[in-house]
């Protein structure tokens, strides 16, 4: 067997383990975020359906679904890498990976790919259930997939950074409650940021989640708060920055190797 094959098999094994890890507890990692998203859909669509009209020809319920899909996709991509890393650090079983010949780049790729798969599985499950109830067009499948991919990669990378940094579960919970949650809720999941007061509109423009959700939604309806190309640029910039940071952490062995 050539060395190339052995290297690929190493990455593939770690990726497979990361996928099986969440698949084994699918009720918690897939069904539970699905139910949460559908509850949001049920409540918000009942309360707001007659009052809010964001785009012409788009019912509020339909407007809401891409936001909910993207929110769940982002949160679950983050959860996959961050919880896997924190858990194996606290349990100590991270050594099983650290003792192997896997390079820091292979480690990164395998964990990230696991996060992307989790994001897609959760997002697609919500989509499948939602289209039973709501008429949801997809105008540009390309944009939908691009933003789903970049969004899950961005949050998966962010999860790697958080997972390496956090030493305990409560630190990770703080990260989730004080960073991830506010960023998701202030990003236009439930509304168009044009309906916000000007100051909050300005603040929202500094939130990368806004661009991911707006670009993703553009793929469904062909309209958004800003051009998908701008969103693409912003999301790519954030992705490159976070990937660079996490690779730097992994390469130096920060909090993993002494």
């Amino acid at each position: 067997m050539s060395l190339i094959n052995a290297q690929t098999r190493g990455v593939y094994t770690l990726f497979k383990k990361e996928v099986l890890r969440f698949w084994r507890v699918a009720f918690q990692t897939i069904a539970s975020p699905m139910i949460t998203a559908l509850l949001y859909l049920l409540i918000f669509s009942h309360v707001l359906a007659d009052r809010v009209q964001v785009y012409d020809n788009v019912a509020y319920t339909a407007f809401l679904i891409p936001g909910l899909i993207m929110m769940s996709l982002l949160q679950n991509s983050f959860a996959n890498t961050s919880s896997s890393l924190v858990q194996s650090k606290v349990m100590g079983n991270i050594v099983f990976v650290l003792l192997t010949p896997l390079t820091y780049l292979q480690f990164f790729i395998a964990f990230l790919a696991g996060a992307v798969v989790r994001g897609f599985v959760v997002g697609f499950s919500i989509y499948l259930v939602a289209i039973f109830f709501v008429d949801l067009p997809i105008m540009h499948i390309g944009w939908v997939l691009v933003f789903a991919l970049l969004g899950s990669a961005l949050l998966g990378t962010f999860g790697i950074i958080a997972g390496i940094w956090a030493e305990r579960f409560d630190q990770m919970a703080a990260f989730q409650n004080f960073v991830i949650m506010p960023l998701t809720f202030l990003s236009g999941v439930f509304y168009s940021i044009h309906s916000l007061p000007p100051i909050w509109q300005t603040i929202s423009h500094f939130n990368p989640f806004f661009y991911m959700i707006d670009g993703f939604r553009y793929g469904f309806f062909g309209q958004g708060d800003i051009s998908p190309w701008v969103s693409l640029g912003v999301v790519l910039t954030f992705l490159v920055l976070l990937v660079a940071l996490s690779l730097k952490m992994l390469k130096s062995g920060y909090k993993l190797r002494g």
Binding site: L3, A6, F96, L98, T100, R257
Partner: protein, 301 residues
């Protein structure tokens, strides 16, 4: 000459102000069963973590089968199987899955499954192969941990205090298997607190103290270098005379262990006891063991 299994050259490790390893030099040859002994804090685990790539040396070079653990770490880790000291496990998977994953990280695929099954069987894990790691008892977790280190069939095996808290049955099973691997050509490096274990298994021993190697020799030579004998006496009447108190190594009630540097001292001891009107109920003369060597090097001075 064959490439050494492990070569450690002038290795220093600093943790902030603490100088954990002070210029260590050590070579372990292929096929050896090597013992690394020393009290807690001597630097054994630090050294092993450097070998494994979990720590980086502050200075010096370490190689495994000729591959530097820093610059050529992939090849070095490929050649190394480390059994960690802590009883760690992954709660999501069963024993066989874990072992196949572990082999997979090292690039091994289906062709390796027969070996994985052999390891499972040799360590008495067959009944537990499909049991989740979380549900295993402590002893079974320890076996699985050893199996994980062996999953990729490494030529060099490092066991960091593998028998701490392990019952006799498992200890024998484990050593039987490790010894077999050693006979088949695997190099084994063992750190342990149980000196009789090192004495029984290791052909060569290094003793460490405060980040330095204080003794390095074959087990037989180390024992010969300290040709002391232990005289074990049980007195039924009288006390140990003051003239013998410097020889007393250990006392438990009326049972005394005296260290003798020469056999002629037996006579001296007996005559002193007679003078003191002490009555000997039982007497035994034993060869010194590694513990005596260890204590004289590490414990005393």
């Amino acid at each position: 000459m064959a490439i050494p299994a492990i070569k450690i050259e002038n290795v220093h490790k600093h943790f902030d102000d603490f100088h954990a390893l002070k210029g260590l030099d050590l070579t372990v040859n292929q096929g050896e069963f090597f013992g690394l002994l020393g009290p807690n804090g001597a630097g054994k685990s630090t050294l092993i973590n450097i070998l494994a790539g979990l720590l980086r040396p502050s200075e010096g070079n370490v190689s495994v089968m000729g591959h530097d653990v820093v610059t050529d770490y992939q090849a070095a880790r490929m050649a190394l199987g480390v059994v960690p000291q802590e009883l760690v496990f992954d709660p999501f998977f069963n024993v066989r899955e874990m072992l196949r994953f572990q082999a997979g990280y090292f690039g091994r695929g289906k062709e390796n499954d027969a070996w994985v099954d052999e390891v499972i069987e040799s360590l008495g894990l067959t009944d537990k192969a499909h049991t989740n790691m979380r549900r295993l008892s402590g002893g079974m977790k320890r076996r699985a941990l050893i199996a994980q280190a062996l999953a990729h069939k490494p030529p060099v095996i490092v066991l960091d205090e593998p028998t701490a808290g392990v019952d006799v049955e498992l200890r024998q099973l484990m050593w039987g298997f490790i010894r077999r691997l050693n006979q088949e050509g695997h190099t084994v490096i063992l750190t342990t607190h149980y000196l009789e274990e090192a004495e029984e298994l290791c052909s060569r021993v290094a003793m460490m103290k405060q980040g330095e190697v204080v003794a390095l020799d074959t087990t037989a030579n180390l024992l010969n270098k300290f040709p002391s004998k232990n005289l074990c006496l049980k007195l039924s009447a009288g006390n140990m005379p003051a003239s013998l108190s410097s020889m007393v190594k250990h006392q438990d009630g009326q049972t005394y262990v005296l260290t003798l540097t020469e056999l002629s001292q037996v006579e001296f001891a007996l005559s002193e006891l007679r003078k003191a009107n002490a009555v000997i109920e039982d007497m035994q003369l034993n060869e010194a063991d590694l513990e005596d060597v260890f204590l004289s090097l590490v414990g005393g001075a």
